[in-house]
Symmetry: C2
Subunit: 233 residues, 2 copies
DNA sequence: ATCTGTGAATCAATTCACAGCC
DNA sequence: GGCTGTGAATTGATTCACAGAT
């Protein structure tokens, strides 16, 4: 449990707090939009307003990347984008494979945000023969038996589970056997995987329940919600 | 900004820490599964193992609901389910309306986890006439102009945004005008809404980026990932 | 004068550890 | 003996506030 490589890890990589890591992609998204608009400089105040957080947090978060701002001026947008991408590892491409070609699998494969952000969909698999052979977003649906070969030949590192809950653990087992290193799980189930695999679960129903709680809270207390709901990390 | 109703809010409602609120639906999900299996009692250790967290956290979280366990024995599953549902406000039904009948809107409307968890889809709207009139998961797609009338007549309290990013702010404005109280946003955009509305944003691409970061981290440091990735709140 | 970068202070969440009950 | 409930201790995240750079 204790950190066995305290001061300087092998590559000298700083350890960025989890909460900050979760915000960096949001800043990145905003900065990419600004580049499209032609904005070249911005201050922590401006970025904070766009991201809906406070300026001190922005400065602290960005300081984990190094000191890339200019005092009295602000940050260079393009350079900041470069640094955030570097830190998040977005200068490599991480290929993903989607397991489950149902409604959700369909939506995910079509979702341009994956490819656009450097996570190309290298394959889609399903266990249902009637779905195999179709093309979704330019990718052929293949049988789940081919999962391992897809992962190996394409060098896929992330598996996305878009199956019904009952099949999710099976899908996870297959992904692990196939050799992926991380799993993004959209089934409403807690998965059991080896310690060497990282899992991140997003449960769309849970998000609604959380929202419902704060809705009820504000009704019961008669209070407004400003700043009340954690806007999801 | 300071909390103006410190000790006892109007209804005597305790304020549960955000982090705990986010975990309650996960416990609930697991407990519902146990009921189906016929399990009637369980300890904090067991629930902790199933949820992938530690037992002290489970006990602390559940203690916010009141003292409903039995020392030396554990918790009664059915009663715990009842208490969590009460706390989360799941004894009322919260109707939702989905804006955007594209791939994602389709998947969300079909996603049984919404209805199953007490969030029935009262309507789906789209701005594209070619999609209006279709039926998705038993609900007719209607034109976005009818949004307000749907919200009023059905008593919808939550709007789900499943549009492309460019249309998301417009969708949010329409939802606010129509009178929803909360918004669940799946477009990769930061929304601007009045303080009286709560928003929770889920960006599917961002989830991958975060996963990618920890993947890179573990490669660079050569360390394993046990406990390394925050499993999404 | 403006805006960053960061220690110090504050606030929140987690974990420990044990008294109290079954 | 086993398990909950909870203060106390700890760890982590956020915010403050200001020195330092341009």
């Amino acid at each position: 449990m204790a950190d066995l490589a305290p001061a300087s890890a092998p590559t000298g990589r700083r350890r960025i707090p989890d909460a900050a890591v979760a915000r960096l992609p949001v800043y990145l998204q905003i900065l990419n939009g600004l580049i499209a608009d032609g904005t070249e400089q911005l201050s922590s105040d401006q970025l904070a307003a766009l991201a809906g957080v406070n300026a001190a947090k922005v400065r602290k978060d960005l300081s984990y990347l190094g000191s890339y701002g200019t005092r009295g001026v602000g940050y260079d947008v393009a350079y900041l984008v470069y640094q955030i991408k570097r830190e998040l590892g977005l200068h490599n491409e991480w290929k993903v494979v989607v397991v489950g070609a149902g409604n959700l699998g369909n939506a995910l494969a079509n979702y341009s945000g994956f490819t656009l952000r450097g996570f190309p969909v290298a394959g889609i698999v399903d266990i249902d023969d009637s779905k195999v052979g179709r093309t979704i977003a330019g990718v052929k649906v293949r049988h789940v038996e081919e999962l391992e070969s897809i992962v190996r030949t394409e060098g896929v590192s992330i598996g996305v589970i878009a199956t019904p809950p009952v099949s999710a653990q099976q899908a996870a087992d297959l992904l692990v056997k196939a050799g992926v290193r991380s799993i993004l799980n959209f089934a409403s189930v807690v998965l059991t995987v080896p310690d060497t695999i990282s899992v991140r679960s997003v449960d769309l129903g849970v998000e609604l329940q959380i929202l419902g709680y704060y809705e009820q809270l504000s009704r019961d207390t008669g209070k407004d919600k400003r700043e009340a709901v954690p806007a999801c990390r």
